[in-house]
Symmetry: C2
Subunit: 235 residues, 2 copies
DNA sequence: GTTTGTGAAGTTATTCACAGCG
DNA sequence: CGCTGTGAATAACTTCACAAAC
């Protein structure tokens, strides 16, 4: 009955699950009960076979002839992504980006619980952001002891990022998500993801530069699309 | 002399160029004159052969025995990414995220020029953000006619995103970068990139969930790392 | 008739391994 | 020596194509 034969899910597929997740959320919200791989593929701008292959790694949840039950499939993806688990998240650096993240739906729903907001700026400490009081970074170790965070998000200026990372690692954090424009150095056992807000801008720049450039050997304009698809690089 | 035989650069390599770019920026800033593929690979957390292969698509810029000239290589990558071209960027939605983007170094240096900030909130319109005055969205068409933007960035709430996208497409914009949590529908000729700030959080969640899960067939903990590496999906 | 799930084929990307240059 | 650049080998991913299920 249940697909107990859990194969390793290819990284490329894992990277697409959040995209399907978002589309399914929209469909469920719109009251759509079922969806075919063809329809999912159109919205995700990928090949329908790819959708079916990706979903088949989670199990056989479709119904031949009609498609997938949107609500059920969403639940399965959430489970696979671990979004039904409680992940306490702390955010360090409550500037514009930190506030955007703290208020972001994706950061405050489905598993992710904002367990702490930290900054060093006197005017910020004590103020309320996204319904929580901002604590001083000096309190990090103490508060992290009370409610150990699973994920640390760094949204500080570049200069502070490495220090903050070191403190979090020292406090025993297992995973870091770094938005600061600095390549961090952490021990290999720490799950590290670096995010650069301008990466997509640079990729757009590349494709704009290479669209039908006269004298260039590149073919006709590619039409890329992704939802922040990020393949992982196992060490 | 110059590598005129420009082959098509694999998408996977293009996605890594911004990562090398950032590392080289840091090295140049630190005064490091040369770097080996091994050193670059360590910082990027990728295989050294991969670095050499990636760089070889741009040309033969290394010196056997010593490595690559950091400044020169940086210039070559910038050129390949089109960062030496002027790309006027407009940002719509000047909330926390919009402000973070407008102030972001990546958005205001190397080719990207903030050509306009738009919102509809009366308190924001007329105020200064990142050294520019926020205009009302109603002025978009007029101002876009004066200084046609190459890239439109959408940082509005989900509900407004599709309307804003439609207006930008109508005004003739060629590429869109969408940060709103909504899958946009645009004509196929528009270069569209969707970014979800919580994607990386979800990928972290997946890997945390699958680390040495008892009874699971997954191998020992993978140690992913990326700098927002985003492969593209050609239509 | 429709749509899934999946082997097989085809494509792209990664890694190896080493010749060749400084 | 050290390190690049690259063919050849390997691995990962994508797409095709179709039998089976509804």
């Amino acid at each position: 009955m249940s697909a107990e034969h859990r194969r390793r899910i290819p990284e490329a597929s894992v990277a697409r699950l959040p995209l399907y997740q978002r589309i399914l959320l929209e469909l469920v919200h719109a009251g759509t009960a079922t969806v075919s791989s063809e329809q999912l593929a159109e919205r995700a701008r990928v090949n329908a076979s790819k959708v079916r292959k990706d979903l088949s790694f989670l199990g056989s949840f479709g119904t031949r002839g009609s498609g997938y039950d949107t609500g059920f499939l969403l639940g399965q993806i959430d489970q696979e992504l671990g979004l039904d688990t409680d992940w306490p998240v702390v955010i360090v650096g409550i500037g514009n980006l930190g506030r955007a993240l703290a208020n972001s739906q994706g950061f405050t729903s489905r598993g992710f619980r904002v367990a702490g907001l930290f900054d060093v700026h006197p005017e910020l400490v004590g103020s309320a952001v996204a319904g929580r009081t901002v604590a001083h970074l000096d309190e990090f170790e103490r508060l992290a002891g009370e409610d150990p965070p699973a994920i640390g998000v760094i949204a500080t200026p570049a200069g502070a990022a490495q220090d903050v990372a070191d403190r979090m690692v020292e406090a025993g954090i297992g995973s870091l998500l770094n938005f600061a424009p600095r390549v961090l150095h952490v021990p290999p056992h720490v799950l590290l993801r670096q995010v650069d807000l301008s990466i997509e801008l640079q990729v757009i720049s590349f494709y704009l530069s290479h669209r039908d450039h006269p004298g260039s050997a590149t073919a006709s304009s590619p039409l890329p699309h992704s939802l922040g698809l990020s393949p992982v690089e196992p060490a």
